[in-house]
Symmetry: C3
Subunit: 132 residues, 3 copies
Amino acid sequence: MKIIELSTDNRCQFVDITAQVQALVSDSNMASGAVVVCSTHTTAGITMNENADPDVVSDVLATLARLAPRRGDYSHGEGNSDAHIKASLVGFSVTVPVENGGLSLGVWQAIYFCEFDGPRRRRALVQFLPSP
Amino acid sequence: MKIIELSTDNRCQFVDITAQVQALVSDSNMASGAVVVCSTHTTAGITMNENADPDVVSDVLATLARLAPRRGDYSHGEGNSDAHIKASLVGFSVTVPVENGGLSLGVWQAIYFCEFDGPRRRRALVQFLPSP
Amino acid sequence: MKIIELSTDNRCQFVDITAQVQALVSDSNMASGAVVVCSTHTTAGITMNENADPDVVSDVLATLARLAPRRGDYSHGEGNSDAHIKASLVGFSVTVPVENGGLSLGVWQAIYFCEFDGPRRRRALVQFLPSP
């Protein structure tokens, strides 16, 4: 297992970590199998989405902010319930097949670390599941 | 790894691919482990849900259309931001345990390819993670 | 593969099953790899979230109830469309890395079985994917 460390700059932000995941897969010498990329937090998740037009990610973030507004009628006293909710909506991990040492992603797919309560120092775990 | 190729007929549509995934698991001779089923797109996801009453899937699609309306206040210029958002909400893959060569699904569970920007030719990857 | 059996007490409820998953991982003698925890139902999912303040989980449940109200304009005749929708939003499984025989969870992360149509007897599958 490997760890990706990152620092986020905004309260809500998607950080493309595809290249870092691919580099770790290459270093692992895994030819075939899958890789699991996990957030170790409860106010940050992991998803995939388009890697080309940054407006796509902006639209995802804006919609999540509409579905779970920051100032909502929440019980949790820390003021970040929206972040916990958004993380459960997008999910905390992705599992990506690996073939010939490469991530089997579609042309437009990127792996995003989803910050919902930054800026902070954050971690994503990368676990290798090689086919025997 | 194997590929399921499919053609969707509508802009938004859930296609039951359970039988195709099971057939690939059977062909793989994997006895025990898990299978990962992934969309290679950013406007189509993968989820599970009920296999019996098609109204269930209609209700899921109708609710997603309410949460991320097609004509929303989006930045992305291609007119399919709703599709990108819906895909991140349902997720891009499912991981299903396999035992005795069969998918360990509940009685009512089906694996659905979730088209949100069709009709199109689409692909789902199926990766085998056998227990050693 | 192992099965966690549980009984839920309310219609909607998150049940922390982290300790049960860890116990099964320990019993399995898997040192390194990942564990997949899956709901076998279509009106109950699996997610992660905070293990400390129960208000976090209440806020997630309240927001899901707002996004998919119980009494909505649904087609499915059984009156539980909201439960099917919520399960597809949070997802039906989590995959958690394992290292040194332990779940690689963050300090605040718990694994939750997400009941959306209880109270019922329910099952979660736990599959082990050891690194070879």
